[in-house]
């Protein structure tokens, strides 16, 4: 460890010059290194916060890779090495537990925590907690909705059964009848499964994240996934479909509806303006009635190894304050976590579906909270792929075993 720190210091000295990556008290204005997923107008937000800081700090914006796995990999590698060059980290909502448990991010306390929680929606705030403590400040959130063509499906069904019946009807009439879901072997498949299990009244893990729960609701959920993948609703490329493939299938006129994040609306308005007047949204379907929609989003955390944590907390708070969230929402299509922002200027035009999002957020299903989420998610996606091959009792047994191993870091990742 000591040796590691010294070699880092040497490396920093060698690379010094800009000093951007090495932080340290070199005097002058502290530079807060922000690491975030690519976001087109984040620089606008950063500039605004620099102005607001009035010389208390300066934010250096560093962009992580595009894929969530690649982002996480870069962050955890550098945190595991105790890299002092990271200050504010943009985290996917599923990483909070892992980074908190490993001791790589700082707890939010006192005035900071109060400010982060003030006016923040409950579900997104919950994703920033681990073992009752706050480890990040919610920045953006996201929920999936049912997006459908009202010219084909005037009455959107509230259940998966209803969706399959609608598809069968449309197929009988020789119309586009596919329903797009994220069925490829990746995180999106886990998101779909988790939402079904929660809609059936169950959960993947126990609330403390230590035990596998699953059980009868999970078996029902598996039955629905299998039935859907074998029904008229299933696109032949279901087992390859990710979010963007689903969007393209609807825009291309092949599918009648999709379960997806709200970005599809802006994309439809841009790509197929003639189609958008029939492009409507409805609550995420469930098993016996409306379901619990998948919850997404991103939070800001402060690195344990940051050399100037006070400046980092202040910067993170500015980066997610109402005005920053309004910019992110209206310019980059990222739904805010502060409730009041939904009524802010420009939101009605950028977010015609904002009431539906707010409503869905109240019941949205968070993903399991565990430091080993990465492992749980990977083995779940492998086991559920392809959805048409699911055999509910057998698949459930495999899931229980593999997730149980993953929780104890005993499991092997494929």
């Amino acid at each position: 460890m000591r040796w590691g720190r010294r070699s880092r210091a040497v490396l920093c000295a060698v690379l010094a010059a800009g000093a951007a990556g090495c932080g340290g008290g070199s005097g002058g204005v502290p530079v807060v290194n922000l690491y975030n997923a690519p976001q087109e107008n984040l620089a606008v937000i950063v500039e605004r916060c620099d102005r607001e800081a009035k010389g208390a700090y300066r934010i250096a914006l560093n962009t992580l890779p595009r894929g969530a796995d690649d982002q996480r990999e870069q962050l955890v590698r550098r945190l595991a090495a105790g890299d002092p060059g990271l200050d504010v980290l943009g985290l996917d909502v599923t990483w909070t537990a892992e980074l908190a448990e490993a001791g790589w991010i700082r707890e939010w306390k006192g005035a900071h925590a109060e400010q982060a929680a003030q006016g923040t929606l409950k579900q997104p705030l919950e994703t920033a907690r681990w073992h009752g403590a706050l480890y990040a400040a919610p920045y953006t959130t996201n929920v999936q909705l049912l997006w459908y063509r009202s010219d084909l499906m005037p009455e959107p069904p509230a259940t998966w059964d209803g969706l399959m019946k609608e598809s069968a009807r449309l197929a009988g009439e020789g119309k586009p009848h596919y329903g797009e879901v994220t069925g490829a072997q990746y995180e999106g498949l886990v998101v779909w499964f988790n939402s079904l299990v929660e809609s059936a009244g169950g959960s993947i893990l126990s609330p403390d994240g230590e035990q596998v729960a699953l059980g009868p609701p999970a078996e029902r959920a598996l039955g629905v996934m299998r039935a859907f993948a074998r029904s008229k609703a299933a696109d032949p490329s279901l087992s390859n479909t990710k979010e963007d493939d689903a969007r393209l299938a609807v825009e291309g006129g092949r599918a009648a509806y999709e379960l997806n994040w709200p970005f599809v609306y802006a994309a439809m308005a841009a790509d197929r303006p003639e189609m958008v007047k029939h492009f409507k949204w409805a609550p995420y379907p469930g098993l016996d009635g409306p379901g619990r929609a998948p919850l997404g989003g991103a939070n800001f955390a402060v690195s344990r190894f940051s050399a100037h944590p006070e400046a980092a907390f202040a910067a993170a708070l500015c980066l997610r304050d109402p005005e920053s969230q309004r910019i992110a929402a209206t310019k980059d299509g990222l739904p805010p976590t502060i409730e009041a922002v939904y009524r802010a200027e420009g939101m009605a035009e950028a977010y015609p579906m904002r009431d539906a999002i707010l409503k869905a957020l109240r019941t949205a299903a968070p993903r399991p909270k565990t430091p080993t989420y990465q492992n749980v998610s990977t083995v779940t996606a492998v086991t559920l792929s392809p959805p048409a091959a699911i055999d509910p009792p057998r698949t459930l047994a495999t899931l229980k075993e593999l997730i149980g191993d993953a929780l104890q870091s005993k499991g092997v990742l494929p």
Partner: protein, 311 residues
């Protein structure tokens, strides 16, 4: 590759006559030699041996970076976990399949290319340069090229397939694409090694065989191949060890989805993605073991260490 000029005449004599005949001056010289190469040996030990030893030590521990408080020595439990995991055996199977199929294809194609290049009279330099292009391209860059080529929508190759097919998202087609990318990439290397081997075959022997009435195929099979044997074995050793470590192509093309992880990819996923140093190191140690075994078989069984040696 060449065996000439390895040792001076008298040094070889000393070795062959045994140790007893060394004079005082020679012994001092030898001591000095040892001292002179000691720093290099030490550095080698540090950079080559220590990481291996460290991996072995890690493989006996429960060591997950996410649970720093639960670090513990657990003996062989990690080996039990890995060897009981179907994911590991699947990865080993994929690795062996990719190794055997791609090296076999490369040997045949490489031999054909070597023959063409060796006999080319016109534009010899140009032909050799052109053939080497794939080997000169960075593997990761080439892999991205293949990835986009096989992705529906962006790819010229995917466009040739029936509508809606995405070969990289299915097990066997994905494996096929991976093997293809490997073969495309390293056949030139194989051809280059084999061409060096062709130079070992004396023209006289071929002419004599032709005089005796041997056809081209007989000359190739009965004269060229046996004389090239050392070069072929060396080329195979290089390529088998290389192919067994296949990583870049799989990482870019599928990242192990649809059961296409090789042992290197699965070790990477557990070490870097899963942050599980114990399990990941166990896999690294197992990979090291297999590579050592393959090298041993080649060197001892097939005599790859001494190309040109008369057997």
């Amino acid at each position: 590759m060449s065996e000439g000029g390895i040792a001076e005449g008298d040094a070889r004599e000393v070795v062959s006559k045994g140790r007893a005949v060394l004079g005082e001056g020679q012994r001092a010289e030898r001591r000095l030699g040892l001292w002179l190469c000691a720093p290099a040996a030490l550095v080698m030990l540090l950079v080559a041996a220590w990481p291996v030893v460290y991996s072995v030590l890690l493989s006996f521990q429960r060591y997950d970076l996410r649970f720093p408080g639960e670090k513990a020595w657990i003996g062989l439990a990690n080996y039990g976990t890995v060897l009981a995991s179907p994911f590991w055996w699947n990865a080993l199977g994929v690795t062996l399949l990719v190794t055997v199929v791609s090296v076999a294809l490369e040997l045949v194609l490489g031999m054909a290319l070597a023959l063409v290049m060796y006999r080319t009279l016109l534009g010899r330099g140009l032909v050799r340069t052109v053939v080497l292009i794939p080997y000169g391209i960075v593997t990761v860059a080439a892999a991205y090229g293949w990835k986009y080529a096989w992705t529906p929508g962006t790819g010229w190759l995917a466009g040739l397939l029936p509508e809606g097919s995405a070969p990289l998202t299915q097990h066997w087609p994905a494996l096929g694409v991976i093997i293809l990318a490997e073969v495309w990439k390293t056949t030139p290397f194989m051809a280059l090694l084999l061409m060096a081997g062709l130079a070992l075959v004396p023209e006289d022997a071929l002419r004599a065989a032709a005089m005796d009435g041997a056809g081209p195929w007989q000359r190739f099979r009965l004269v060229t191949l046996p004389l090239m044997r050392p070069a072929i074995v060396a080329a195979l050793l290089f390529r088998v060890l290389d192919a067994f470590r296949v990583f870049d192509n799989i990482y870019v093309l599928t990242n192990g989805a649809q059961d296409t992880s090789s042992v290197s990819v699965i070790a990477y996923h557990n070490l870097i993605g899963g942050l599980n140093l114990g399990i990941g190191s166990t896999m690294s140690v197992l990979i090291f073991g297999v590579v050592a075994l393959v090298a041993f078989v080649f060197v001892k069984g097939l005599g790859a260490s001494a190309p040109g040696e008369v057997r």
